[in-house]
Symmetry: C2
Subunit: 213 residues, 2 copies
DNA sequence: AACTTGTCCTGTCATGCCGTCAGCTTACCG
DNA sequence: CGGTAAGCTGACGGCATGACAGGACAAGTT
């Protein structure tokens, strides 16, 4: 699917080359999760990978370019989030379990890709189309199926609210909560209580009803 | 209230000095809204302010330090958001108007401080306590009074949900929507429709009821 | 084993930003 | 008018960036 891996100057990378390239990406990932984005320097990444800055520039145009690479990889990975909603039931107690599992899975994914998602979020907010697209791909893997679920459950009641808006709000909320869970802690909401609360919101949003006890 | 403005090396700044300082801050603000945060350089800010880099370092330890200054100024300003909730009624049609005005005011504030809030959000997500504190101050100016509102309106019905969690979720949602309104557009939610939808969510969250038509 | 070929890495260099300092200019005051 | 403190900048060592050419290396060929 992806074409051959190429260096900046157009050569095709061989086995050894791909290894160093990957090592650089791994080190950059590590770097991103330990230093502020603004302070991540090419020379540090190169040093950590046991190579020279020049090598880095052979494979990536700059730090941002390499970050995009990592982000795209992660976006591919986010496809798995679809299964948290697709074909799930929203009726009664089962429905609330669906909601709980969705919240759980989403938060886990975000936590796992914490550092890179921070940068993607920043880039998207700054208006960079490439980062925006990647962010949408991640969010859509949940928002897409979720919109369908809202539509299906809403037909029975009223049509006053836009399913896309509801689903979008819920996903935004989840993303925000994942990125800033500390904020909730400072509001006196314990990490333990955060998940049930979010699950409740999601259930309410999708079904329009209060959950069964 | 704030002590005398001082230079990095401890001198007190006079009238002229404060002017340059302010000009530097203004230029930095401008810079932040036109360039990616990662690419904002001291030398560019200085050039734009018609001064030299050395002058910048006389008043701020580094770019981050100056950004914090701007952010704190904005946080002070956010106190006005309290009035969007404090002493407002949540009953009936008036309640929905309250909700609409809150959404409107919050989005306006965020849009106005767009660029600086992006950086604050990033800093908070990266675990920087100074940025986190500032972000909480802004969010709390709404979340605080809102929690009270939720408490007051919930006493009449059930106590199953934590008011702080509800209010926190709503504020998080608003912040997320403000920062990434483009995402909603790409979900097919027009900017015009976004506000009413958010207002609906807020009203629902606070009162637990559907709004009167 | 010597040779060939194409991939891979790095030494080096020019450029530009960072952050600091000494020292010059300006403003204020007695 | 001289003293004092504020205000600004030129200049400098240090480091990151980004480009290039040439050497190291692996793998196959003779």
């Amino acid at each position: 699917m992806t074409g051959q891996v190429r260096t900046v100057d157009g050569r095709v990378a061989g086995r050894r080359g791909q290894e160093t390239r990957q090592k650089l990406l791994d080190c950059l990932r590590e770097m991103l999760s330990t230093s502020p984005y603004r302070d991540v320097k090419v020379i540090d990444v190169a040093r950590m990978a046991g190579t020279s800055p020049a090598t880095f520039y052979q494979y990536f145009p700059d730090v941002e370019g390499a970050v995009l690479e990592i982000a795209e990889e992660m976006a591919e990975d986010s496809g798995g989030l679809k299964e948290l909603v697709d074909g799930k039931s929203w009726a009664g107690k089962t429905g609330f379990t669906t909601s709980e599992e969705l919240v759980d899975g989403f938060l886990a994914f975000w936590r796992k890709n914490d550092a890179i998602l921070r940068v993607v979020t920043l880039g998207a907010a700054e208006g960079d189309k490439r980062f925006f697209k990647i962010r949408m791909k991640v969010l859509n893997s949940v928002a897409g199926p979720l919109t369908e679920a809202v539509k299906a459950n809403q037909a029975k009641t009223d049509k006053s609210v836009d399913p896309a808006a509801v689903s979008g709000s819920l996903v935004s909320l989840l993303a925000s909560a994942a990125e800033h869970s500390k904020a909730f802690t400072s509001w006196g909401v314990k990490v333990k209580d955060l998940k049930p609360n979010l699950a409740l919101q999601v259930y309410l949003g999708v079904t329009g009803k209060k959950p069964p006890k």
